[in-house]
Structure formats: structure tokens, C-alpha cells
Subunit: 539 residues, 2 copies
């Protein structure tokens, strides 16, 4: 298995070459009119972590590791803060042990060890958290990070019900690889797809491929099996139920504080063969937003309905920088999608959008069996340009490391009535903070998901900071924008999760009584308070 | 305001006439080849309830009532057991006081009174529970039923986000009446629509009008405001969120044990003007089920996709008794639905269904503004016949009271792979119990809702019992069928809720650790354990 980079997105083989880093430095130097000296990235052999403070019991030794590289990989996710700290070899509080359960019994045994010893037990999926979702807590005598990669199989496929029983540690690509021979797909493609797992998606309420209708992983869960320090939690496999509050909805979004998701029955689907896509341009982001609202409220349920503001449209789809771009996509395993996209395009045109007929691409189903690597509708034109940019984005950030460059994304969701004000105030807060902190910078926005009652906007900001001061600079910008999101009625996260990063705003957002209720639930399931301490609530 | 009947479905004006009861007795006598003497229904003046054991504090006296009729109306819902007991004037444990809050402060005051006095506080919506959802518990020195009808207004409409802030006590018709002038509808039509409330729907995870996609009230909730003995619980209004486990999903389905839902922001929609409907016949229920599965898995999202077995098709839609009937309906405010229904009909025909072209009805939108009382597509042919039968069914049961007739419905949901076995075993359990207990009877089934991973079947059974022994006879049949549902992998309820009736099977169904977690939540929100004691969990 390829070795993961301890600081970059991807594997060690994805770490940038000196040439790539030089090119990135040159581009940023030109863009920001500064002198930038490219740096040499850190190497695995440079790591020197705190010695492990605890030793696993002999029964667990075969599944535990404590080498520096492994512990470094399991310390930080891949947020801006994480990448800076890892690049700087700044690992003051790594886990002491990385445990890799081979099966559910191993999970139980590791939790038992942690629970009886008072060691923090940190569930780890694919390591792509951008919210410090698995960063070890302070104040524990021992920290055991539980990497679930050993539970990576699709155990059972029910092709009649289009459901599959899947282990929590399976990565996105391996999951799809196991479903593909049966003609099925989960079709849940977060940007982290390559480096995230089913269990992680469920624990963080991941938002996936679909822009409308059932897109959160929440909607695809048929039942959850979770190991807790108090025992096994398994819900009945059901297509729908009205029997009390949903047990699954407590596990979904629990961010590792209640248990470790070892299996789930998931709703899967036939692989799409009929596709249609279109890229519609709008004179302004606001007119594009109005079109988007009308399309989603018409309930045509496009798979893709992403609106890029002029800055994003220029950067991601090669547009001129004056117009917004709405990317529309429809797909189905059974039904031609031409009529659907024509309805959506009609609505977009009525709302002021323009599109050449040639940029409405409709596949008749002969182009292949669908999936992420075959067929070409949605791979061409402005839609295709956006898609490549989307998948490549995390890798590109690797090239820009060590230069003092400050950049991050922030996502939220808000009702349509509050959206114009949120857009205005978050942009203002970001621009003001960038001006103050970095002496300028750029802000852009797109909609990643849309609902009948509001969009999920995704902001990107960047500015040139000072090498060595990036974390403080970032913190000031993040604080200003997060406060603005809260004040404008948004959520502190739509699909990145809460983690340690978003706790201060999450605490403002959720009902105080809900926090008390969740504490009571945690005391029941994790009486010694060892599971991912500090996430969502204080112990 | 019209006075509710204390025993029949509806108001006192809906109680059957002597002539109607005679007709019903004649029909049943003929069907079961027995002699049946029609009886005289009880009257309000016949009631003689236990004297109220408690007196409200003077501050609450203006909103409290204790007359016998009022307390009788608030003792039982409208299940078979409820109707028999009420008809027999059998009210051993009525509430002592019926409180009718005028506003949220009144709700708080009533809860404070109950909580400090240790009186059971029973939230009451529209009174149509079929699962003893508000039946007073034994063992309390005082019982206060809190009727929410005074909080019956739509407070705010956000036409941009298509959302409305609505008080929990609003009845279905009054809710639609307040949305209609604005061109909107919640479009949630459970069979109990006339006698159920928004707060009740949320507390019981009501299943509504739609057969596919977003049909549970769960999906329409944008935020919930709930008064608990520990204070106010209010979630942020959001179209979507990934911030921790959903607070709303704890309130949804809580069946009155955690708090009283005083308000919710609900997702509303434009009133449909384009409609299409079709009734497709199938040689067998199984072939109809296969067609239904293919249609729902194709994700065309019909609003109506109800499959009736031959017995139901004969009774509800005037069919001959040999064929199953699939009722399809599509609707939209913006988009003509002809293409959609033709796709669905094509799939149905491929799966062995037959339909005359004349029975595919497509409205071009000129027929009116939609809603439950205008337009006529879906009001004609087999679809229209079914619709009238559906809405009228609860009233018809009024006519059959006091004859020893045993009849009830049971609903569940199950994955497609388990469905054939569940159908077989539940029918067998019901028929066997009917044969044993009643010397025979009939069983029928329909799908009320369908999901990509399974249907929600709805069984109806009837047999002629012995007057005075109906409750024991019913209990034996219900037990046998519920055990069969559990054994076959179904849920004890898809949309009727748990209540006191389903507790034994619910306890088998939900994860034991979830029950412990829910107890911990209840202790947090309702420390004195006064809210609807005995529902879902033991205190």
C-alpha cells in the first residue's frame, strides 16, 4: 500500500517536486507582487515526535504501531492549519499509539483498553478532516488513534432492495470498486472521496455528489452498527420507520464521541447511463442564484446544480471573470435525461441565463456504464473543466506550501431569504480581514448544494501572509468570517463537520438543551469519557 | 366550534344515525351470515367519569376544564380498542384536567405546575392517535392533558425560501386554509388530516400524502421550537446542516416525552397545477409489487404510488377482486407531468401491468390551482374512487360500532428482499388468528409508501367477534400479527407511531443502548418524568 504523506494531500508520491514548488512560488510571487523563495518540503526522516507514553497490552500489540511517521499521519487532517503545522514539523501532541483493528472484536478490545485506562480513543477514517476532527486532545496520559482501514469490505449486497452491508473503514474508491462489478454505486463523492471512509462520512454527516434532494450521507443510511464502550448499538435495517426518534440520527454526525461505526447498511443504486449536462452563464451571481432557487424549488432534482460566482467561474472553468456559471447535471440508470435538463435550462434562461445549444450535452446511454471514470457527458465543456479542477484542487495546495500563503474554504447553509445578506456580510468580513491581516486578497463563492429552502454556499479566500505568522493570520480571518456566518443565520458547517475547529460557533448554534441531552447520551454510551474528548461537547 | 364526538371519528354531527347503523348491521349480518341487532350509540349525557382529583392553580383556572365530555374526548384516540372502550362508556382513568394553553407562556406554566406537583402531563394534538399515544398512565395522582388547539396559527410565511413558521396546535385543514391565500401548501395529508395537528405529526413522525421521496414530516421540518420542563429547545432555521447529530431528529418522533412542540418552521411549496394519474391493473399483488419496486428505484418520485391487493382494489376502487391495482399520481406547480407518468406507466406495463390509455389522465394546468378541493385529475376513474374511499374510511367505522365486529389496520415497512416473506407470514398470522378467534375473516394489504429499498405495507383485517369480547379477540390477533412483523424484519410502525399499543414490539426493535440513551435525554429535559410517562421508555 502506498505510504501517506504526513503533510501533503495524498501519498508520498503526491508530494510536489522541487520544480512544481518553484512554479507555484513563481505564480504566487507574480500574483501578489512579492518575492518568494521556494522551500524544500520536510521529509519523513525529519520527524521527531514525543516518545509514546503508553504501551499496548500484549494482546493488542499485533495491531498497534507507534513509529513517528504513522503517528504524524494520524495527528492532523488536511485543513490549512493542519498543513502548515505538519509542514513545519510541529507535532507537540501526537497520538501515542495507532491501532488498526482487523475486525469488530479488535475494536471492542481497543475501546476496552482505553476505557479502563482512561486513554483518549480517537476514531480515524481517511484522515481528510478539515476541522480537526481527530486531532488528539490535551490532558490525557495516553492517546490511542483507531485507524479503521482494516474494516474495508463490502460484506453483502442485496440487489433487490438496492442496499449493501459495508464496513465502516472502507475508502471511497475501494467501496466503489467493490460495488461496480455488481452494477451498483453508492454515488457519494465528497471532494475528499479518495481519502475518506464510509464510517467517517456517517460520523460527520458528509455531503456528497448530489447537489439536490438526497445528498447527505444521512439519507443513504438504512441502519448503523456501532461499537460503544457500553456495548453494541445496532439499528434494524428498514427503508423507513416512524418508531420513535431515529436511533441512526444520533449516530449520524456523532463525530466519534459516542462510538465507532463498524458497519452500515447503505442504500445503493444502479450505475447511471443516461446523463445530461449544461453550463449556463449569468450576468451576476445574484441572477444565477435566483435561477438556481427556481430550479430547485421546481423539484426537478438535478444531480449537479452548482453555481460559481465570476471569480470561481474564471478559476475553475476558464470563464472570463465577468459572468457567473451554473453547472447543471442530470443522470439516471433507466430514464433519458434530455427532457429534464431542457426544463432546467428553460427556467435558467427565463431567469436571465444564456447557454449555447451546443453546451447542452445529452447522452443517450450508449456512452458506457457510468461511474467516475467512464462516459464523457459531464466531462466536456465548462462542466468538464470544473470537474477536473474540483478533483485536483486539494493536490494543488501541496505545491503552495511553505510560502506564507493563506488560503482556505468555508462552507455553510442558509435559507434563501437570508442568503443575500449572508453573502454580502461574509464577503465583507473576509475581505476586511484579508485587507487588515494580509494587506489584501480575494474572496469567491459557489453553491455546492441547494435545497428548496436555501443554498449551501462555499467560500474560498486567499491572501499572502507572512511566513511563520500564517496561523495567527488565518485565525483572525476565520474568526471574522465565522462570526459573520453566525450573525447572518447560517450554520457553522454544512458538510465539513464541527471538529475542534468549529466548536466555538457550534456552541452558539445548537440549542443549549440539546448539548445537555447529548452529554447525557455520551455518559450512557461512553461512561469514562474516552471517545474523541472535546468534540461537540465538553465531557 | 363543532363539538367532537367522545366515541366516533369526527364531530357529534358525524355520529351515525339509527338508520345508518341499521344499514351497517344489515350489511355485516349478511357478510358474516349472523344475526346482528343494531344498537343505540352512547350519548354524552351517559358519561359518568371519575371525579377530577386535582384542581388547577387559580392562575391556570381560565384555561382548564374538567367536564366529563371534555375529559372523555381526551382519554382515547381512535384505534379499534379506543372506539370499543369509548362506545362502552369505559373510562376508568380519564385525565383530571384538560388544559388549553393560549400561548407558549401558558404551556410553560402548565408544565411547571405538573412538574412541581408530579402530575402526568399529556400533550394532545388532534386526538386521532391509533396507538394510545395520549392515553393517561396509571399510577399518577393527577393527570393533566394539554390540548394545543389554542396555538393554531401560521405566524410567518417566507415565500422566498418557501417556509412557514407555524404553531404546533394547528389542525390540517386550518393549516392549509392559512397557507392557501399565499399560494402555498404543506401538502402533508395523512388519513387523519382533519383531526391531527402539526405538533402531533412531528411528535409521531407522521407519513403524509407523498408515496415516495420526502413524505415523512421529518423531511419537511426546517426547525423545531419545543417547551420542555427544563426550558426552551429551539433549533436554528436551516435548509441543511452537518453540525453534529440533528437536534430536530430528537424532537421528531419523541411522542410527547421530551417536550411540547409549540412552533416549527416547515418547508412549504407552491400549489400543484399540473397533475397526472393512472390506475394500472396487475394479475397478482406480487407482479404489482415488482412494478412498484422498479418505478421507485427509477427515482421518478411519483406523489402517489399506492399498490392495492385484489381485495383492497375491489373494496376501495370497485375492481372485480381478481387483480391488483397500482395507483400512480404525479404533480407539480411548474412542470407538466405527462412525460413522467408515461415513463412510470411504461415501466408498469413492462412488468406485466395493463391500463387503457383513457385511464391515463393528464392535466395541462388549466384545471385550477390545485389543492384538496379543486381540479379533477386524480378525482376520476379508479384513482378517484380510491381517493373518496380513503378519506371516508374512518367515518364508515362509526356505523359499525357496537356489533362485535373486529377490524383494524396495521402498518409496517420492510426491505424489498424481505417483503415477500413478510407478506406471507403476516397474512398467515392474521388469517390464522382470525380463524381461531373469530371463526374466519378477511385480510388485505396495500402499499401506502414506497422507498427505493422497500415498501410500507398496510394490512387491514376484519372478522366478526362476540359483543363484549372484542378487546380480548383483538388483542390476540394484534399480538400474532405484530410478532410476525417483528420476525419478518419489519418495523412495528411506519407512520402510526409507537404509543402504548406498540411498546412491547418497539422494545424488541430499537437498540437497547438507544433506549438507555433516550432515558438519559428524558432525565435531562424532564427531570421529574411527568411528560407522557410510559411512552417509548420507562421512566
Amino acid at each position: 500500500m502506498a505510504k501517506r504523506s504526513f503533510w501533503a494531500w495524498g501519498h508520498e508520491s503526491d508530494e510536489p517536486t522541487a520544480e512544481q514548488m518553484k512554479t507555484a512560488a513563481g505564480e504566487l510571487a507574480k500574483r501578489y507582487k512579492v518575492d518568494l523563495a521556494p522551500v524544500t518540503p520536510p521529509r519523513s526522516t525529519d520527524l521527531s515526535l514525543r516518545k509514546p507514553r503508553i504501551t499496548p497490552p500484549s494482546s493488542l500489540a499485533p495491531i498497534c504501531d507507534s513509529d513517528d511517521h504513522d503517528r504524524a499521519v494520524h495527528t492532523y487532517g488536511r485543513s490549512f492549519r493542519d498543513r502548515i503545522r505538519a509542514f513545519n514539523l510541529d507535532f507537540p501532541n501526537p497520538p501515542d499509539v495507532v491501532a488498526r483493528p482487523r475486525n469488530e472484536e479488535d475494536v471492542e478490545a481497543v475501546l476496552e483498553w482505553c476505557s479502563s485506562s482512561g486513554y483518549a480513543a480517537i476514531p480515524f477514517g481517511g484522515g481528510s478532516s478539515t476541522v480537526a476532527g481527530f486531532e488528539p486532545p490535551e490532558g490525557y496520559e495516553g492517546i490511542v488513534t483507531i485507524d479503521m482501514e482494516g474494516l474495508g469490505r463490502v460484506l453483502e449486497i442485496d440487489d433487490i432492495s438496492r442496499s449493501a452491508r459495508i464496513q465502516g473503514g472502507v475508502y471511497g474508491p475501494a467501496l466503489e470498486d467493490q460495488l461496480r462489478p455488481h452494477g451498483f454505486t453508492l454515488r457519494h463523492y465528497p471532494q475528499s472521496f479518495e481519502f475518506s471512509t464510509l464510517g467517517g462520512w456517517i460520523a460527520t454527516r458528509s455531503g456528497g455528489h448530489y447537489a439536490t434532494n438526497q445528498t447527505h450521507i444521512d439519507d443513504m443510511v438504512e441502519s448503523v452498527r456501532m461499537v460503544t464502550p457500553s456495548g453494541l448499538w445496532e439499528s434494524r435495517r428498514l427503508p423507513g420507520s416512524g418508531a420513535g426518534p431515529s436511533p441512526d440520527r444520533i449516530a449520524i454526525g456523532s463525530e466519534g464521541i459516542l462510538g465507532i461505526i463498524t458497519e452500515a447498511w447503505m442504500r445503493i443504486q444502479a450505475r447511471p447511463v443516461f446523463r445530461a449536462s449544461a453550463g449556463v452563464t449569468f450576468p451576476t451571481f445574484a441572477s444565477g442564484a435566483e435561477a438556481t432557487r427556481r430550479i430547485v424549488q421546481t423539484k426537478l432534482w438535478p444531480a449537479n446544480c452548482r453555481l460559481l460566482d465570476p471569480v470561481e467561474a474564471a478559476a475553475a472553468a476558464g470563464m472570463g471573470g465577468a459572468n457567473a456559471l451554473l453547472l447543471l447535471g442530470f443522470e439516471s440508470a433507466e430514464v433519458p435525461q434530455g427532457e429534464f435538463i431542457r426544463h432546467a435550462v428553460d427556467i435558467a434562461r427565463e431567469a436571465g441565463g444564456t447557454i449555447d445549444e451546443a453546451n447542452i450535452r445529452i447522452s443517450d446511454g450508449s456512452g458506457g456504464s457510468g461511474g467516475s471514470s467512464d462516459g464523457d457527458t459531464g466531462r466536456q465543456g465548462s462542466v468538464g473543466a470544473w470537474r477536473n479542477s474540483f478533483l485536483n484542487a486539494p493536490y494543488m495546495k501541496n505545491h503552495q506550501a511553505g510560502l506564507g500563503f493563506v488560503t482556505e474554504t468555508m462552507e455553510t447553509a442558509v435559507t434563501w431569504d437570508r442568503w443575500p445578506n449572508l453573502d454580502e456580510s461574509v464577503r465583507a468580513a473576509l475581505q476586511d480581514a484579508l485587507d487588515r491581516v494580509c494587506g489584501g486578497g480575494t474572496v469567491s463563492c459557489r453553491f455546492t448544494h441547494v435545497y428548496t429552502d436555501g443554498p449551501a454556499p462555499y467560500f474560498t479566500f486567499e491572501g499572502m501572509g507572512r511566513l511563520g505568522a500564517e496561523l495567527e493570520m488565518y485565525a483572525e480571518i476565520k474568526q471574522a468570517a465565522s462570526d459573520a456566518i453566525m450573525a447572518a443565520g447560517g450554520t457553522i458547517t454544512h458538510h465539513h463537520a464541527v471538529g475542534r475547529l468549529h466548536r466555538p460557533w457550534y456552541d452558539q448554534q445548537r440549542p443549549e438543551l440539546f448539548a445537555q441531552a447529548l452529554k447525557a447520551v455520551k455518559r450512557t454510551l461512553d461512561p469514562n469519557g474516552v471517545l474523541n474528548p472535546g468534540l461537540l461537547i465538553d465531557a
